[in-house]
């Protein structure tokens, strides 16, 4: 890689070689490292990228076949898992539901359920709404006192958050916290509430960033559901 050439290669030529894919493996590794620390060099790379991408200007768009989009969406948003869970919503057959939830919760619950002599109660709830489109599945993991939540559909409104509430009969809702914007999340049940988890109604409300400023839900209730024993 150190062959003599009669023109010294300056940084700008190296930047162009990186963009073209002509740089040696070692240059690629060094170049990437440099780009993250050397803004001027990174700028040169970006500049060449902008210039050379013009080579694609003359390439005509070609409409890809519909199956590509189908395959892509199936890969990025795996639907099979969702549809299995959707079937679980019908709560048909405790054993099948437990099995599927075991898969959903991960290995721990599966191990618990298959350990001879132990059959802990599994509590689950489906949080739904007629209007918001938000659908969340919740399962209480009895050993860790965690509620595992999986969002099946619905999106957070920009600059708003979901807040999860546990509601016991005739009591004010207790916040279980603001939910991160991820498909699955685990929430610890406060110690004082653990023995009453079977009576929970879980609800998700729409709140400003940081959560309800008052300690009680301030926005619309987007989905709610009560616990079922599996």
């Amino acid at each position: 890689m150190t062959e003599q050439t009669d023109i010294p290669r300056d940084d700008d030529v190296l930047a162009a070689e990186l963009v073209l894919g002509l740089a040696s493996d070692k240059d690629v590794i060094d170049g990437r490292r440099r780009m993250s620390t050397d803004a001027a060099f990174a700028g040169q790379v970006v500049f060449w990228q902008e210039r050379l991408t013009a080579m694609t200007d003359g390439i005509d768009p070609v409409k890809p076949p519909a199956r590509v989009k189908k395959k892509l969406l199936a890969q990025v948003f795996p639907k099979t898992r969702v549809s299995v869970l959707q079937r679980v919503w019908l709560w048909q057959g405790v054993s099948m539901a437990s099995l599927l939830f075991a898969g959903y919760l991960g290995v721990q619950l599966l191990e618990m359920n298959t350990r001879p002599g132990t059959q802990p109660t599994v509590l689950a709830a489906q949080l739904v709404s007629d209007t918001s489109g938000l659908q969340v599945l919740a399962v209480v993991e009895p050993v860790k006192h965690e509620i595992a939540l999986r969002r099946i559909s619905g999106e957070v409104i920009p600059n708003r958050v979901f807040e999860l509430w546990a509601i016991l009969p005739d009591q004010a809702p207790v916040s279980l916290g603001v939910l991160p914007d991820s498909e699955t999340v685990r929430v610890l049940v406060p110690e004082a509430l653990r023995s009453q988890a079977a009576q929970f109604t879980l609800a998700i409300s729409d709140e400003p960033i940081g959560g309800s400023p008052t300690g009680a839900p301030t926005g619309a209730v987007l989905a709610a559901g009560s616990m079922t024993e599996l």
Binding site: T5, L20, A39, Q49, E50, T53, P61, P64, D181
Partner: protein, 180 residues
Amino acid sequence: MDRSEIENLIARVALKDRAAFDQLYDRVSAKLFGVCLRVLNKRAAAEDAMQDTFVKIWKNADRYSANGLSPMTWLITIARNTSIDRLRARKKGHQDIDTPGFELIAPGLNPEQAVVAASEASRLSGCLDTLEEDRGKAIRGAYLDGETYADLADRFGVPLNTMRTWLRRGLIALRECMSQ
């Protein structure tokens, strides 16, 4: 193509907005598929490359931010690099050239540079044509066909060092022509 519209969609995809991803696909997939087809020249391979491209876009959209790199340049670069990696994948010891978003770790171009880059880019085609014929062909071969220095040296029947020197001279001439 409306730059701010694409930028907006990418920003929403960064927040994992599925509807935005769907729209971005409808908006740019034909151009990206054209690029994949141009590089790979085979429909099945181009379809796979484009699927990979969009998976990378979904995963890395948060690394793109409006900082001077045109959104189409970012998207096309991912499609082109993904295609070239596929083309070269059979070769032993091949190191992928594609790291989507990587080029954006450092602050990108300021708005003034972005304008200069865009105007230089508009002169690329004309400037490539003013280069000595073989040099223009070699640069196009590297960019659009993923040819390496070794491939190019073979094609033009010159020693590797000569090829490097040639192409580097070509790049310098190209830069001079575009910046005029």
